[in-house]
Amino acid sequence: MNRPSRIRIGRPLAWACLILAVVISLFPLYWMLRTAITPGRELAGDNAGLLPRHPTLLNFERVLGLTTREEARAAGGSGADLDFFRYLGNSILYTGLVTAVQTLLCAMAGYAFARLRFPGRDLLFGMFVAALMVPPIFTLLPNFVLVKELGWLDTVPGLVAPSLLMTPFAVFFLRQFFLGVPRDVEQAALIDGAGKGLIFWRVVLPMSRGPLLTLALTTAVWTWNDYLWPLLVAPGEETRVLTAALGIFLKQSPNTAPDWTGLMAGSVLSIIPVLLLVVFFGRRLVDSIQFSGMKG
């Protein structure tokens, strides 16, 4: 009598906990959206209920710079100019450029470390591995100074410079992958007279789509989320990315009564690409995280 009833209570209870965890994960994001479509003036009196009483897109329009300054101020804005279209574009440019170039160049470097023979290889690779252990803030300070000296503040080159060509992690990750690729395929092509360079482009790269995509996804998420570096080197209107824009928006907003509806509208814009990633690459994302877990 006791045992079956315990199971009957146990499983629904376990499911309830799991559902609760999903609700805790997602409800804040829903509340973000709800706030973003609430008229700024009604926020204080309208904070219950699943939908606001008078849903509006005005907050999105004003952070995207589609309204006049007077309209924005009337809707609860601070009067600061906002152009999230541009910030969104800058974020896409920053993320796209870094992800594409870095992945390709690190694949080349990783292949060289895994398959080519040259003097000093192990020493160089050892230095890359050592760099994995340095917290980013240590190199961030001098890198900021360097970008400043080059006159690259508030420029795209300054923004992308430190991460465009390589990160030690990307090189390390792909080298480990290439080491594990069976050599037979390459041997066969080598016997057919193809050079190792050609083999890399024609044989190895096409075979490595999976790990390259995993790495590219990871790099894209980091770059999209990157805050401190873009805020320091590219806060200017022309090169400001979304994360920096949100930080600056908050700073310009009055401390006592922040422009929550506008801030949440901007926040929604910053997570749209994230949600798209989950929709299109959900399985790969989950698999790559779990793969790290299996590796542990």
Partner: protein, 311 residues
């Protein structure tokens, strides 16, 4: 190796490596071509700044005047800087809170997933908060925890409890920050641990069930001990990651109220970019390198001591 949270672990190396036969000269020219961009990037943005940072840490540079060599003065000052020690204390407090919440909640979630479902949709949904930019997470929770209009206080007052200034009270600020970052990291941690649980072979559970072991007992006596390696891995990665908390603090509390959330990363940032004390900030950063190096070393030793019982 110093992993940041979210880095996929590198694929394992399969089998003994047979070298492709290379010419007597090796592949020098091809290697040079393939490595050139990465080496330039490494030299300019990793090696050079590391050397420069070490040099700055021995100067009194303030971004305006020329740097003057002061030897180890910055380090001597650091040892007597109460704010430095405070920042280490705050960071350690945050690390304990954040790891505690994430490991317990993550383990619970992983166990639920493991026992109940293989649903990919559910796992994807749980990992969504981790993909949200830290700045957005900070802003969102500032709003949810707002003292007047925030949703959480709305719930509290609805239940007849007094509203709290979660991010403005010196006692609540740090735990609140830990809750915020846990919200974003727990789903990710749960997925890592879930993957570890999948590695425990079925027959172990069957044997436990045959012996009449209940769910909870099996979890503590069988699953958990067999997961030691993955637990150790998650601990190392999360520890190093938590030590470098910045974005959430920079957005929500800016280190306040009265230094209650001034973690080491934020302290370094302030010294460098608010007070322009580049020399002192570099000495702080180099000290952080050392602290993390020691922590990683100790943890790696522990990791090695925790080989799986499944082997």
């Amino acid at each position: 190796m110093l992993l940041r949270q979210g880095e996929p672990a590198a694929p394992p190396v399969a089998g003994p490596a047979h070298r492709l036969k290379a010419g007597a000269r090796g592949d020098g020219r091809l290697a040079a071509a393939f490595l050139a961009p990465a080496l330039i990037g490494f030299g300019l943005f990793y090696l050079y700044p590391a050397l420069r940072g070490a040099w700055y840490s021995m100067t009194d540079w303030n971004l305006l005047s020329r740097p003057r060599f002061v030897g180890l003065d910055n380090y001597a000052r650091l040892l007597h800087d109460p704010l430095f020690w405070n920042s280490l204390k705050v960071t350690a407090g945050y690390v304990v809170l954040n790891l505690g919440i994430q490991l317990v909640a993550g383990l619970g979630l992983a166990a639920l997933l493991h026992r109940l479902t293989r649903s990919l949709v559910l796992r994807s949904l749980l990992v969504v908060p981790w993909l949200v930019p830290n700045v957005t997470t900070g802003l969102l929770w500032m709003w949810l925890l707002d003292a007047d209009l925030g949703f959480v206080n709305h719930l509290l007052t609805g239940a007849g409890l007094p509203a709290q200034g979660f991010l403005t009270s010196p006692d609540l600020a740090l735990p609140s920050v830990a809750v915020i970052t846990s919200w974003s990291g727990t789903g990710y941690t749960a997925l890592l641990l879930y993957a570890g649980m999948l590695l425990v072979p079925r027959h172990v559970y069957e044997a436990a069930a045959l012996d009449g072991s209940g769910e909870i007992r099996t979890f503590f006596r069988v699953t958990l001990p067999l997961m030691r390696p993955i637990l150790a891995f998650v601990l190392v990665v999360s520890l190093i990651d938590s030590f470098q908390l910045f974005d959430a603090v920079a957005v929500t509390t800016k280190g306040g109220p009265v230094n209650a959330t001034r973690v080491i990363y934020h302290y370094i940032y302030e010294q460098a970019f608010t007070h322009f004390k580049m020399g002192y900030a570099s000495a702080l950063a180099l000290s952080l390198v050392l602290v993390l190096g020691v922590l990683t070393f100790v943890q790696m030793r522990l990791l090695r001591a925790s080989a799986s019982d499944l082997a």
